[in-house]
């Protein structure tokens, strides 16, 4: 789906075409969950955040004067909501409230390589995390990721490459630490 396609769908959705919004929802919901997950590291909370984002977008759609920027606008809403939720959770933790889980509550029993990689990903810079999840989980193209994050395809490519390098180096570092006498 291109920016132009989005623009057409948003415009027709605003004119009352239900099918158009259906397609937008189907298209973006998984990506919103992925973006929220990079902030919250909790699938359930991420889905909450994604739904909140749709509600907020629904309430504020009149603000969107450039329908071709719908994807980036929606992603920004979702990220803001997820960040707010993460902050709230952090405050609750700080206050000693037990009903919350830390962002990186890695189980020491889940000590396999995948868990280690997941932890490394969630320690990357936020934009790298987004790209990793949009690329590997949502399986979005570079152009679609660029559209959602409001950056160029070249930037997506570069950040993804740097993210992979970091993950590889960190894995190697941890592996060498484990083999040290």
């Amino acid at each position: 789906m291109t920016e132009n396609t989005d623009a057409i769908l948003v415009a027709t959705a605003l004119r009352g075409d239900a099918e158009s919004f259906s397609r937008l929802c189907e298209q973006y919901y998984p990506a919103l969950v992925a973006i929220a997950y990079t902030q919250l590291a909790d699938r359930g909370l991420a889905e909450d955040a994604a739904q909140e984002a749709l509600l907020a977008a629904y309430r504020d759609i009149a603000r969107l004067k450039k329908p071709e920027r719908f994807a980036g606008w929606l992603a920004a809403i979702c990220r803001n909501i997820a960040i707010d939720m993460a902050r709230t959770r952090a405050r609750q933790e700080h206050a000693g409230i037990e009903d919350c889980s830390p962002v990186l509550n890695t189980s020491r029993n889940e000590n396999d390589t995948v868990a280690v990689v997941r932890e490394i990903i969630l320690r990357l810079e936020p934009d790298m995390r987004d790209i990793i999840y949009l690329r590997y989980n949502s399986q979005m193209s570079y152009s679609r990721i660029a559209q959602m994050l409001g950056i160029s395809e070249e930037a997506v490519n570069g950040k993804l490459r740097r993210a992979r390098d970091k993950i590889r180096r960190e894995l190697q570092r941890q592996a060498s630490k484990e083999t040290e006498p």
Binding site: D42, I61, I77, T113
Partner: protein, 351 residues
């Protein structure tokens, strides 16, 4: 291991680590959440433009909180449904003792009708009515339909016009001194076409009907017929989110002395939709005092908006919400438990 294999291995690890499982949007849960959600100030949406969203929010809140408004909107659909009353009998033809061909022929000659209706709304599963109205409908085969809705106190609450020319719906809200005009867009026109007597007759031809026997109504000896909808109501597909009818039961009572309907009863249950204020409803309509070819002044069909009424900018809101609630077109697949935040917060999910 060669570098290529290393890269593939890294890709595989990252893909597994980033796998969140299948994520799908669930329309019903989202609508639940929308209905339950109080307005939340402070949500950080990008400030890209000066905004009219506040007014939209107020309008939406008006729709959600005003009984008159919500039911005036809902009434527009029910008015359309009631079109069937002007020619619902083709499906019965030849199968019952009443000479139904005569009914159809006679109905085709009718140019105007007035109908009185008692319309009661119940929330699903509740016995106490949620809302009651008395309705007077004026029907003209040339001009359209006017639906006047009165409260229990006899006060006029609202008036809805469905005009053929120009093709538009006009709703006047007496209490609020507001009015709104909704053009019959292509989509809406298609919806209306599905609700015409012809379309409904076509539909009902596909169903079975039951002979209810004879009775006396208002001094007329009548024969009754009943049919039940089995999910094939003409509001289908992408329009179902507006007024998602689950089940419908029609009863018609036809006079023996003259081949015309004397009374009709309609009971329908709905799912959550824009025009049901996201509630599951049971709605009963009892139509009586049907007059045929009365002399109705043509001005009745002209929306005559008093000078002190101001426009309610409902059109854009309805369009907007219709669009956004158009997730009705989505297949409801997967489960998103929007209420699970509380429980999830108690669970320490490992990452």
């Amino acid at each position: 291991m060669n570098p290529r294999n290393d890269e593939d291995r890294l890709d595989e690890l990252i893909a597994r680590a980033a796998d969140l499982g299948k994520v799908e949007f669930d329309r019903e849960e989202w609508l639940d959440r929308l209905a339950a959600e109080p307005e939340k100030p402070g949500v950080s949406t990008p400030q890209t433009h000066s905004t009219t969203s506040e007014s939209h929010r107020k309008i939406w809140r008006t729709i959600m909180e005003s009984r008159v408004t919500r039911y005036s909107v809902a009434a527009t659909i029910l008015v359309a449904v009631s079109l069937v009353l002007s020619d619902p009998f083709g499906w019965l033809d030849g199968r019952h003792g009443v000479v139904l061909a005569d009914v159809v022929e006679r109905m085709n000659e009718v140019k105007t009708m007035t109908i009185r209706e008692r319309r009661v709304y119940y929330e699903a599963g509740k016995d106490e009515p949620w809302f009651k109205t008395n309705v007077v409908q004026y029907v003209s085969s040339d001009r359209g339909i006017v639906d006047e809705q009165y409260g229990e106190d006899g006060q006029l609450q609202g008036r809805a016009y469905i005009q053929k020319d120009p093709p538009q719906i006009t709703i006047m809200l007496v209490g609020e001194k507001k009015y709104v005009k909704l053009p019959l867009t292509d989509s809406a026109t298609r919806l209306m076409e599905r609700l015409t007597p012809k379309a409904l007759v076509e539909y009902f031809k596909a169903g079975d009907c039951t002979d209810l026997g004879t009775a006396t109504i208002d001094g007329h000896e009548v024969t009754g017929f009943e049919t039940r909808d089995s999910g094939l109501f003409p509001i289908s597909g992408q329009y179902r989110f507006l007024f998602p009818i689950k089940d419908i039961k029609w009863q018609f009572w036809i006079g023996k002395d003259q081949p015309l309907p004397v009374a009709a009863d309609l009971e329908l249950t709905t799912g959550r939709g824009l025009f049901t204020v996201f509630k599951e409803l049971r709605i009963t309509c009892h139509d009586y005092d049907m007059e045929y070819d009365p002399n109705i002044p043509s001005t009745v069909f002209d929306p005559n908006i008093p000078a002190d009424y101001t426009p309610l900018n409902l059109e854009s809101t309805l369009k907007e919400n219709a669009a956004w609630l158009g997730v009705g077109g989505l297949p409801a697949a997967g489960i998103i438990a929007c209420r699970r935040r509380r429980t999830r917060m108690r669970q320490r999910q490992t990452v």
